[in-house]
């Protein structure tokens, strides 16, 4: 016998709820995700060197630098020879391309960056206190930001600014002491120039998204010090600290790179260099 109530069978037909409800619930789910304790392991500590954080301490600090290179083995050989860098596997990247001890933490990377493309040169990651708020700020100021996700070292969001520069945002465990503005020892990152076609727009974007403040053309209150440069280039260019610029310039050339003659600047002795894969960088020898 058939059952008349079988006529009640109701396969699921999608119904869009009220958009305001949908958006609010999405926020609640996101917050619940971020608040949920990681199941595999606790957030590990930030990396320290002599008590100095290698991953920043304040919103807007550079927490990590992903150096995009076509050939990572050549990169390890070149920067090992020039800057004395040594390498080890990281918590996520297992191939051994994380630079030991350098401030801020640096890793070599040949894969796609946040915008989904390969970037030849540095892509910066910035520490923020509240990743959800920072992601909203990036989106609110014309950038794009992916959903925050949890990595072994903390929370991360993939971003691209409003002029097309890739970057990451990190919400990380409590820090050690702030890193110095210009690095502390040879091999550290001493300064970063962020090239963007519209310098004013870039200052406005990073000021709004990361709270950067500028004095005399460079950031103050975050580390390492960053300046924004105009022109046709796009993205981050790194400067490294060395103890003896003359000797370092020789090492650059011996390792297959190019180096201009050391020039005296108000802040340091400086040499304009490229590595053997064509990546531009500067070397700095500071007075103290």
């Amino acid at each position: 016998m058939t059952d008349p109530l079988d006529a009640l069978r109701s396969p699921i037909a999608p119904v869009d709820p009220d958009p305001e409800f949908a958006a609010a619930l999405r926020e609640r789910v996101l917050h619940a995700l971020l608040a949920a304790p990681p199941q595999e392991e606790a957030m590990t500590d930030v990396l320290l060197r002599d008590g100095l954080s290698r991953n920043g301490t304040r919103t807007g600090d550079v927490s990590y630098i992903s150096v995009g290179l076509p050939d990572l083995a050549r990169g390890r050989a070149f920067y090992g020879a020039v800057l004395g860098w040594t390498f080890a596997p990281g918590q996520v990247e297992q191939a051994g391309n994380q630079v030991n001890d350098v401030i801020p933490q640096v890793g070599l990377w040949s894969g796609p960056q946040p915008g989904g493309r390969l970037v030849h040169g540095a892509v910066l990651a910035y520490r923020v206190d509240d990743l959800t708020a920072a992601v909203a700020a990036v989106r609110g100021h014309g950038g794009t930001a992916g959903e925050p996700r949890r990595e072994p070292y903390g929370l991360v969001a993939d971003c691209v600014d409003d002029q097309g520069i890739d970057f990451y945002l990190h919400e990380l465990p409590p820090p050690g002491r702030p890193a110095p503005d210009n690095g502390a020892v040879a091999g550290d990152v001493s300064y970063i120039t962020l090239f963007a076609p519209d310098v004013g727009a870039a200052r406005a974007f990073y000021g709004a998204a990361l709270g950067w403040r500028f004095e005399h053309g460079s950031t103050v209150g975050t580390a390492p010090m960053i300046g924004i440069g105009g022109g046709d280039d796009l993205g981050a260019m790194l400067c490294f600290r060395v103890d003896d610029l003359e000797a370092a310039v020789v090492r650059v050339r011996d390792a297959g790179g190019t180096a201009g003659e050391p020039a005296t600047r108000p802040y340091a002795l400086e040499a304009d260099c490229t590595d053997d894969q064509g990546t531009r960088f500067y070397l700095h020898q500071f007075a103290s």
Binding site: P4, L8, S10, P14, P17, L25, A32, Y64
Partner: protein, 170 residues
């Protein structure tokens, strides 16, 4: 820096696709916008807290939603203190009934039933669950669920015939 998928992020990735399905499932069954929204929210928040090895599919979310709905009706039934009165008496063995239902009216009738009757009929007929599956969601024995279904069908038929045939109830 590579991308490692993370358990909760899977839920968020599912969210946009699954929201109309979960809400669609709930709104048809509870006919109450505010309640459907509440249960939809409870469903997704429960999904976030689910263990790592949960499957992260729309079917899985619907399963959570189904339990939320059953929980709601169970709570409602307790509120109305109707459970004891239902558990007391024995059910008849058969309850043959052979008509073609007016489905729209039938849904209206459902909304007026006692919560535990509505829950049983919704799971058994709207969702198409077996008696055993219905029993599992309601957290009752199969035997108790069979009894509940018989009573629920009788209540449904009473109201249905009352509204469509002017009150006859033999």
């Amino acid at each position: 820096m590579s991308i490692v998928p993370e358990r909760g992020a899977d839920v968020l990735a599912l969210y946009d696709r699954a929201l109309p399905e979960v809400y669609g499932y709930l709104i048809v069954r509870c006919s109450d916008r505010a309640l459907a929204q509440d249960l939809t929210a409870e469903t997704f928040l429960a999904a976030v807290a689910a263990p790592d090895d949960a499957p992260r599919t729309i079917a899985w979310l619907i399963g959570i939603a189904r339990h939320k709905l059953a929980d709601h009706w169970r709570w409602q039934a307790r509120q109305q203190r109707l459970l004891e009165s239902v558990a007391g008496s024995a059910a008849p063995d058969t309850d043959a009934w052979d008509v073609a239902l007016d489905v729209l009216r039938a849904h209206e009738i459902l909304t007026g039933l006692a919560p535990q009757h509505r829950a049983a009929l919704t799971l058994r007929y709207l969702d198409g669950l077996s008696v055993a599956e219905t029993a599992a969601v309601l957290e009752r024995t199969v035997h108790a669920t069979e009894t509940l279904l018989v009573r629920a069908r009788r209540a449904f038929r009473h109201d249905y015939e009352g509204t469509t045939q002017g009150g006859s109830d033999d």
